[in-house]
Each structure stands twice: as structure tokens, then as C-alpha cells.
């Protein structure tokens, strides 16, 4: 009797196990044979980037500049390993710059006297010939004022940025229900070698004293930093694309050429020298417009 009971229980258990197993298998079967199983989110999509080279002339404008705006002309060359990943380089040179309203106001209103003699461009004539230890209240008339403050402000000279481009989003855009255009959103990141023209270092050993009018001239410097950009690209045809990119180029520099730090407690006070301690962190930003030419012809996915 016991044996029968055991066998009956075993048989029932097997049946239940088999039934539950078949249910699971059935669920899996639906996953395996479902009509959309393995189907891509988008069919017959033009792969605008995969296996293609892109050459794109660019024009970049700096944003939120305190003292000087710069227009950079350049180009971007990319090769896309897949439709979502590419490698390349962007390079641009400053072709035009313009001072801001603040620069013009400093130029117009900043007094040229012993208190500003190491910070604001002038034409010389320090009182008593000794500007290294200025005396508050000394006559400002003894310092020439017809030198432009704009001449000491820094500007971007060039940028070279080897970068990786990541294209996570691809879609299409309808404008006024009439214009339809393929669009993608990409992120670019990499290193950047940035050339700048900045007020030369002064006041240190072997350097001009900072009160010397000649010390307000700018000199070239190179900054190594990182950069990233967010780009929206429109593809009206297989060959030509249009892009607009926001790019950040953060690094330390001294846009005004002021002596602001290096002395006193924690180095937070002027030290009558202009050097790297006067650099401040700026999250330099640019907007870039690009016209891209891509080749060879794009493939189409399944």
C-alpha cells in the first residue's frame, strides 16, 4: 500500500513538474518565435555613419566671454567604426575677435594710477620712477592713460582636439508637418590642446616688472585640457549634413591679465606678479556650426 502511494505521489509530482515545465517552455517559445523577436527598433535605416568618413568645415563662436569673444574657423575629420561610434579630430583657429562691453568700459573708466599700474595697460610715467611699491593717493596724472586695456586681454588662438564621438540617439524630425529630416544626437569627448594669447608673465626673476608698459603685451601659451560637445546633426541627403554643437573647453587662464592672487594668506592677495597663480578656472563654452560631407555612400540596415 505504501509502495502504491509512493508511486502515485511520484507520478503526480512528475505530472505537475512536466506541466509546469511545459508552461515555462511555452512562454519561452513565444519569446523565441514572436514576430518581433530580434527585430531592430528601426528597419531599413540608412546608416549615415557606419564605415564612412566625415569631413566638416566648422565655425565656432565663444559664449559668455568676460573680456573678448573669438570666432574660430576649422574642420572636423571623423571616421565612424559603427553607426554609433567614431574617432576623429577637430581643429580650429581664431580668425576674429572682438572685445566685450566690459572691456570697453574698463578701458574708458579704469583710472591709470599707482593702484592700477600693474593691472591696467598704460603708457608709463610712474611717480618717482618707482612703480614697484605704489603709494595710494599718488597723482594719477603722472601715469599715461592712452593705452588700450583690450591689448592685454587674452584670446583663443587655436584648438586641436582628438576625440571620440558617440551617437546614442538617431531619429527623425518633422517641422511644420512639411519638412522631414533624419536627425541624430551625438556626444564627443577627448583631449584638447588649446593655444592662447595671454598677458605675458611679469614680476618674477628675469621677467619685466609688471608696471612696465611692455609687460602688458600678450604671449602665446599652450593649455592641455579635456573637452566635450553635444551635437545635433541633420541629414537632408546622404552626402551632406548640417550640425550644431555645444562644446565646453574648460581650463585655467587669466583672461584680463590681472594680478589677483599669489600673495598674502592662502595666496588670495596680489603679489605684484602676473603668473600662473593668477589663472582662474573658466568653463569656456562654444557653439559650433558645421557642414559635413560624408563618403562613401551609406549602407542600409536590415
Amino acid at each position: 500500500m505504501k509502495r502504491r502511494f509512493v508511486k502515485a505521489v511520484l507520478a503526480a509530482s512528475l505530472a505537475v513538474a512536466a506541466m509546469s515545465g511545459s508552461r515555462e517552455a511555452r512562454a519561452q517559445e513565444i519569446q523565441v518565435t514572436g514576430p518581433l523577436k530580434g527585430a531592430p527598433a528601426v528597419r531599413h535605416m540608412r546608416l549615415y555613419r557606419k564605415g564612412r568618413f566625415e569631413f566638416a568645415p566648422t565655425a565656432s563662436f565663444t559664449l559668455l566671454d568676460e573680456y573678448r569673444r573669438t570666432l574660430l574657423a576649422g574642420a572636423r575629420l571623423n571616421y565612424y567604426l559603427t553607426d554609433w561610434l567614431g574617432i576623429g579630430v577637430w581643429g580650429a583657429g581664431g580668425v576674429w575677435s572682438e572685445t566685450t562691453t566690459l572691456t570697453n568700459e574698463v578701458n574708458q573708466y579704469a583710472p591709470r594710477n599707482v593702484e592700477t599700474v600693474i593691472n591696467v595697460n598704460h603708457t608709463g610715467g610712474c611717480p618717482g620712477g618707482n612703480c614697484s611699491s605704489p603709494t595710494p593717493g599718488a597723482s594719477p596724472s603722472q601715469i599715461g592713460s592712452n593705452a588700450s586695456f583690450a591689448d592685454q586681454t587674452a584670446k583663443l588662438s587655436y584648438v586641436i582636439a582628438p576625440q571620440v564621438t558617440f551617437i546614442p540617439f538617431r531619429g527623425k524630425l518633422a517641422i511644420f508637418n512639411k519638412i522631414f529630416v533624419d536627425t541624430d544626437l551625438s556626444l564627443a569627448a577627448g583631449l584638447a590642446v588649446v593655444g592662447i594669447q595671454e598677458r605675458q608673465y611679469c614680476g618674477g626673476g628675469g621677467q619685466l616688472p609688471c608696471y612696465d608698459p611692455a609687460s602688458f603685451a600678450t604671449a602665446g601659451q599652450t593649455k592641455i585640457t579635456w573637452t566635450f560637445g553635444v551635437d545635433l546633426t541633420f541629414w537632408p541627403s546622404n552626402l551632406v549634413s548640417f550640425g550644431i554643437e555645444y562644446r565646453a573647453l574648460p581650463f585655467y587662464w587669466n583672461p584680463a591679465g590681472f594680478d589677483t592672487r599669489g600673495g598674502g594668506p592662502n595666496g588670495n592677495y596680489p603679489d605684484n606678479q602676473v603668473n600662473s597663480s593668477d589663472d582662474t578656472f573658466k568653463f569656456n563654452q562654444l557653439v559650433t556650426l558645421a557642414v559635413g560631407f560624408s563618403f562613401p555612400a551609406p549602407k542600409i540596415n536590415e
Binding site: 505530472a15 518565435t33 559668455l64 546614442p168 584680463a256 596680489p270
Partner: protein
């Protein structure tokens, strides 16, 4: 022992039951049912071989003859024939029951076999059906705004926009920001004053509010990582309102204590809305609030600083508020980036037309 065998037999039968149901998925070729008439002919013809052609016996004609024609006398119709042929597998043809059903009407109008042989040039819109219908719905849009263009004082602020969509593309609403307590003068001002002895007039904001119209000319969808699809739209907005500002006393803080000024402003913005579902979206907007700012005078009145007259100061006294402001107003752009959420109410809607 015999009972155990019965149990085992029962178990085997139960195990086989679902598999038997399963097997119905793959029928022998000869009995493959033809698709019902209303199945979209263009899609099938475009992507797969015509089922009727792929099923040699029985021929259309024989199928028609082997089964009673659907009510309505459409015996000769190829589509009807295919449908009844399929139904010989055991099902009941819906056209026999309800000949007025739309798919039966559609079947009368064309021959599926002939249509399948045609080259299809289907007109496909870039976005077949807008993901979210906005007409007649309210939008609640809380956001936080970051200053983009003022390197002297940042005016970050929480804000709220309320819109009502008159149509799918046009809305009217209000938007407001609260800045007070979050204005943050930059260290850059101090450095400039110390180095060049030039003071830049600075202003605080308290609040702003505008009545806006919103227009949505763009919409689309993106495939993320080639795996998922999200919908978005782009909008522009603009309107008229009020902003309350006051100068921060920089030039003569000993004497000048400013109060809030009410100033008329115009605002324009451009935004992007990315939908998580049909009533919730993330928003990103760039908005420019334009107005004529009253700034602190960079010159200090030189009159006697003594209590004079009923007001307690003379006309050229530095304590006279009339001398505190610059005589000119200054056109000012407060450009801000708004990041927020968009909630549409009611949360559900119905399409007027099928997809």
C-alpha cells in the same frame, strides 16, 4: 500497481495536452489557412510571399467551390475564396455571420491576389501618428532655471509654467520665476574692482511672471542605442509680463538702499520636450527675458550730506534716492536655461483617427 500506471498515463496525457495545443501553431502546408481579407494587403504583399500562391492545393477556384460562398454572393471573389478556404480548417467565416463587417466590405472592393502582385509604393509619413495629443489638455511645467549670460550675478530660480493647449500646436499660459534668495554675485566682480578700480552695476531679481503663447512646430522620435524609441517635440514661446529687480548697492553702499522696481518684460524661448509616456515629459528650454533695467548710478552726488527739508535730504544729497539711479535705462537680456518636467492633464486621450 495498476493504479500507478493509471496515474502515469494521466500524467503523460496532461503533459501532452499543452504540446498538442502547441502543435496547432505549425500546420501542414496543405492546410495553411489563407489570411482573412482585411489583413493589410500592402504590408503582406510587400514583405512576404502571397499565402495563396505559396499554398498550391487547393486552387482558389476549387476552394471557392468546395465551400459555400459567403453571404452576399461573393463566391467569385478571390479574397472571399481565400478566406473561406482558410475557414475549412474548422473556423467560422465572420462574413457569413456579419456580411456588413468592414473587412467583408473591404473584401468586396478588391481582389487580394491581384493586388498582391502590384508593386507597392506606400506613402509613409515620417511620424505616422503623433505620440501625444495636446489639444484641449493642460500642461503643468515645474522647472529650475540657470543663468546663461550674466557672469556678474547668477539669477538661478525655480519656476512654474501653466499652459492650456487650444490646439495640437498652440497653447496659452503663464510662466513665473522666483529668484529672491538665490541671486549670487560672482567673485569676478570683486577681482575686477580690486584690480582695475572699476565697479560694474549689479542687480538682484525678485520674481518674474509672463503671459505666454506657445507654438509647437516640430515633433519627432529618436531611437536610443538602436533599441528603444522615444518621442519629443520642439516648441517656441513668447509673451509679455513683469519682472521685479533692484540694484545691488556697489558704488555707494553707505547711502543707497534700493527697493524693488516693477519693470515690463518681453520673453521668448525655445524648448525641447522628451516624452516618457503620454502625459509626462522632461523639458529643456532656453528663454530670454528682455527688459529695460534700472541700474545704480556710477557717480555719487556731491551735495551736502545733511538733513534738509521735509524729506530729510537736499536735491543733490547722496542720500537723495533720486540721485541713486543712472539716468538711462539699459536694455537687458536675461538668458536662462530651464530644466524641468511637463505633466499633461488629463493623463489620457483618444485619437480621432486610427493609426
Amino acid at each position: 500497481m495498476k493504479q500507478a500506471r493509471r496515474w502515469l498515463l494521466l500524467a503523460a496525457a496532461l503533459v501532452l495536452l499543452p504540446q498538442a495545443a502547441y502543435a496547432q501553431k505549425k500546420k501542414p502546408k496543405g492546410t495553411t489557412p489563407a489570411p482573412a481579407a482585411p489583413v493589410s494587403a500592402d504590408a503582406d504583399a510587400d514583405s512576404t510571399p502571397a499565402p495563396a500562391a505559396a499554398t498550391p492545393p487547393p486552387a482558389e477556384g476549387s476552394a471557392d467551390q468546395a465551400t459555400p460562398p459567403p453571404a452576399g454572393g461573393e463566391a467569385g471573389a478571390g479574397v472571399g475564396g481565400e478566406a473561406t478556404g482558410g475557414d475549412t480548417g474548422g473556423g467560422m467565416d465572420i462574413c457569413q455571420i456579419t456580411p456588413d463587417a468592414p473587412q467583408c466590405q473591404a473584401a468586396k472592393e478588391f481582389n487580394l491576389g491581384a493586388e498582391a502582385k502590384k508593386t507597392i509604393r506606400a506613402e509613409v509619413y515620417a511620424v505616422q501618428q503623433q505620440y501625444v495629443l495636446k489639444g484641449g489638455r493642460f500642461e503643468i511645467q515645474p522647472f529650475f532655471a540657470f543663468t546663461l549670460n550674466d557672469q556678474f550675478v547668477s539669477h538661478d530660480a525655480p519656476g512654474l509654467a501653466l499652459n492650456y493647449y487650444l490646439t495640437q500646436v498652440l497653447a496659452v499660459g503663464v510662466v513665473g520665476n522666483w529668484y529672491d534668495g538665490l541671486n549670487s554675485p560672482s567673485d569676478f566682480n570683486f577681482q575686477l574692482r580690486r584690480a582695475a578700480h572699476v565697479a560694474i552695476p549689479l542687480n538682484d531679481y525678485q520674481l518674474s511672471g509672463d503671459v505666454n503663447f506657445t507654438y509647437v512646430p516640430m515633433y519627432g522620435k529618436f531611437a536610443g542605442f538602436g533599441d528603444f524609441i522615444f518621442n519629443y517635440d520642439g516648441y517656441i514661446d513668447g509673451g509679455l509680463g513683469l519682472i521685479r529687480t533692484k540694484p545691488i548697492s556697489v558704488i555707494d553702499p553707505d547711502n543707497r538702499l534700493f527697493s524693488w522696481n516693477n519693470l515690463i518684460n518681453f520673453d521668448v524661448g525655445i524648448g525641447l520636450r522628451i516624452f516618457f509616456n503620454r502625459w509626462l515629459a522632461a523639458t529643456l528650454e532656453i528663454r530670454d527675458i528682455m527688459y529695460f533695467e534700472r541700474i545704480e548710478s556710477t557717480t555719487v552726488a556731491t551735495g551736502a550730506d545733511v538733513p534738509v527739508g521735509a524729506m530729510g535730504y537736499g536735491p543733490s544729497s547722496p542720500t537723495n534716492p533720486a540721485t541713486w539711479y543712472d539716468t538711462n535705462t539699459h536694455f537687458t537680456n536675461d538668458v536662462q536655461m530651464q530644466v524641468g518636467l511637463s505633466v499633461f492633464l488629463p493623463t489620457s486621450f483618444e485619437y480621432a483617427l486610427p493609426k
